[in-house]
Symmetry: none
Subunit: 204 residues, 4 copies
DNA sequence: AATGAATGAGCCTTCATTCAT
DNA sequence: TATGAATGAAGGCTCATTCAT
C-alpha cells in the first residue's frame, strides 16, 4: 500500500530504527546501529533525516499517519457514536497487538526524545486525539452521550487509559492479559461507568 | 517539619535534582548542575547516590512513598468505595497541581531512564496502583461497583487517564485547564460512564 | 621505506605515543596529548585502539616484533655461540642507544600498565628471552658453554643485566657512560666471569 | 628490634600499604584502602605522609635501610671478596623469598611511582648498589677480581640480574623455580662466566 | 592527634554529525 | 547519491587531598 520504491532507502532506515529503538531504547540506540541494521552507511542517514530526533519524529508522523487514516475509516464505518467509540477502543489495542515494536516506540521511546515532547506539539497526536473528540461531540449532538463532560477531557482520559494498558502489555511482552478482552473492559468502563446499575430505577 | 537534619545534604541533592530534571529533562541535566543547585561539590553526589540513575530512582521511591501514605490516609477516611474513588482521583490531581516539578519528573523524566523502565518493575508504582485495585475490590464486595470489570484493568485505565491528564497539564504548564475540574470530570466518566442517562429508566 | 600508507594514521598515533609516554610517563600522559602530537582528533585514537592500555601494548608488540626479527638475523649471522652471545649483547644495547624513546617506554613506562604486567605474559618478551635461551643451549651442545648452568636462568640473568644498564642509561639520558663499552663489559662478565684468571693455569 | 610504640600508627600504615600495593599495584591502590587496612581514618595517613608517593618512598627507604644493614653485616662477616659476592647474591634472593609482598613492591610497584623513578635518585638504592661496588673494588685490590671490569658496571649488571630473577619469581608467585638454586647459578655465572673451562690450560 | 565527610580538578571515552572522496 | 573515516564536544565518575570538628 505505501510501497514507494524511490524512497526505498529511507523506508529501510525507518524500519531499522523501529527495530533498534524498540529493542534498546532511543537514548541507548546508536545512529551507527540503525545504519548497520538498515544496510546503509552512517552518513546516508543524514541524507534523509536532519538528525537522530528526526528519525523518531518521522516514525511517528508517518506510521501514525497511516494508522489514523486506517482507524478513521474503520470507526466511521460504524453507525452511532457509542458503537464508534467501542470500535475505536478495539482498533487501538488491536494495532498495538499487531505492531508490538512500533507500539513500543510509540508508548515508551517516543517520550524519551526531548525535542518530541517539548517542541513537537504533535499535529499527528493531536489529530489522533481529535478522532476521539469528534466522536464525543457527535454523540453529544445526537444525544447518545451526556452533555456534562468535556470532549477535550474525555479524549485525554481515554487515550491515557489505552496508552497505559498498551504500555503494560508492551513491557510485559503480552504476558499478562488479552488485549481484546482489555478493549472490551475499557469500552464498558468508559461507556457505562464502573458503578453498579441501580436496580430500582427501572421499576416504575 | 523536616525530621532528619542528618540527611540534610542528601535531601538537598534530591530537591535540586527534582528542579533540574523538571526544567531540562533527565538526559539533558548534568550531574554538575544538580550539584551546583544543591550547593555541594560534584563528588558529594556520589557519596549519597551510586550514579545519576539512582538519583532519579530515589526521587521516585521516596517521594512516592510519602505520597502513597498520604493518599491512603485521605482515601480511607472516606466512607464507601465510590466516595473513596472520587477522593482518590481528586487527590492525585491535587498532588500534581501542588507539586508541578515533582509531577514533571514522575510524568515525563522518569520514563527517560532506561534502568527505571526496564528494570524497575516498581514496587512503589505497584503499591500505588493497588490502592485503586483495593478500592474496586471493596466496592464489588459491598455491591456498589459492578462485578463484570477486572480490578486489575480498572486500575491501569484510571491511572493512565490521570497520568495523561497530568502530563498534558504539566507540559502546558497548567495553561489549558483546571485540574480540579478535570478531576470532577474523570470521576464522572469512570463512575457513571459517558453514556447519556436513559430517561425512561426513572419512570417519571 | 614505510611500507603501508594505509595505516598511516595508526602509525602516527603509535609514534606519538612513544614520544609522549617517554617524556611524561604512561600514567601522566593524556590521550588528548597523544592525539595532538599525532595530529589527529581525540576520538580517532579509539578507531585504532580499544583504550589507552592497548596503545602501550601495541607499541610493545609491534616494535618488539621488529626488533626481535632484527636481532635474530644479526645474531645468527655470526658463527659460534660465544660470538653470537657477544653479538646479542651489543645489539641489544645498540638498539637502546639508537631508540632512546622507545627504550624508555620498554624499560620504564611499560611496567606502569597493570594490564601489561599482570595479564600480558608476553609472547614477545618470551620470544625475546628465548633467543638467549637458544644460544645457550646451542653453546652447550657444541661444547663451548658449560653444562652446569640452566639456560632458563642465564636468559633471565642476562636480560636483567642488560635491562638494568639500559634503564640507568635511559634515566640519566646517556650521561653516565658509553653503552658500547658497557656491552663489552657485560660480555666479558657473562662469558668469562668476574674472577681473575688463574695465572698458573696456563702452565707457564 | 625496631619496635617503636610512638610510631605505632605510622608502622601500621606502612605495613598496610605493603599489603595493598603488592596485591593491587600502586596506581590501582586507593589511599582509602590503605587506611581501612591499617585501621585508621583516611585523613590520618596525611598526618604521617605528605602524599601517596611518600608512602611508597618510605616503604623503600625504611625497609631498605633495615635490609642494607642486615646484608652488610652478613656479607662482611665473610672472608674474601669472592665469598662475599656469593653471600650477597644468596642473601638478596633469600630476602625476596622471605618477604614476597615487600619484594613485589620493590620489584614492580616501586617503578610505578613517577616521583620515585624520576626524582628519587635513591640514596638507599645507591647505597645498596655500592655494597656490590665495594666488594668488587676490594676484590680488585686483593687481586681476586679481574682489573678490566668497571665496578660501576658490575654492580648494575648483578643487581639487574638478581632483580629480574626476583621479579619473575614474584610474578609467578614462586611457582617456577627454587631461589636458592637460582642464587647458586647466578654466583657461578658472575664469578666464573658461562664459558666452558679450557681443558688444556691446566694441563701443563 | 584523629576523624571522615566533603571537595573539585581531571580525564577517558562515547557518539552524533560532518565532509572529502 | 553514497560512503565511512574522522571529528571533537561533552560529561559521568574517581580519588588524592583538605579541613572543620
Amino acid at each position: 500500500m505505501f510501497v514507494n520504491n524511490k524512497n526505498n532507502k529511507r523506508d529501510r532506515i525507518l524500519k531499522a530504527a523501529v527495530q533498534i529503538f524498540a529493542r534498546k531504547g532511543f537514548y541507548n540506540s546508536k545512529v551507527a546501529e540503525v545504519a548497520r541494521q538498515a544496510g546503509v552507511a552512517d552518513g546516508t542517514i543524514y541524507l534523509y533525516f536532519k538528525n537522530k530526533d528526526e528519525i523518531l519524529i518521522s516514525i511517528f508522523e508517518e506510521e501514525m499517519g497511516n494508522f489514523i487514516a486506517g482507524i478513521k475509516s474503520e470507526v466511521f464505518a460504524e453507525e452511532g457514536s457509542v458503537s464508534r467509540l467501542k470500535k475505536f477502543i478495539h482498533t487501538h489495542l488491536q494495532f498495538v497487538r499487531k505492531n508490538p515494536n512500533l507500539a513500543q516506540v510509540f508508548q515508551v521511546e517516543l517520550r524519551q526524545s526531548n525535542r518530541f515532547i517539548k517542541e513537537y506539539t504533535g499535529s499527528k497526536l493531536k489529530e489522533y486525539l481529535d478522532v476521539i473528540g469528534t466522536l464525543i461531540i457527535q454523540g453529544q449532538e445526537e444525544g447518545s452521550i451526556r452533555q456534562d463532560i468535556h470532549p477535550g477531557l474525555v479524549k485525554r482520559a481515554l487515550f491515557g487509559a489505552l496508552d497505559e494498558i498498551a504500555t503494560e502489555w508492551v513491557l510485559s511482552r503480552g504476558g499478562n492479559h488479552d488485549l481484546d478482552e482489555s478493549a472490551e473492559q475499557v469500552a464498558r468502563i468508559f461507556i457505562d461507568g464502573v458503578i453498579a446499575p441501580r436496580r430500582d430505577s427501572s421499576g416504575g
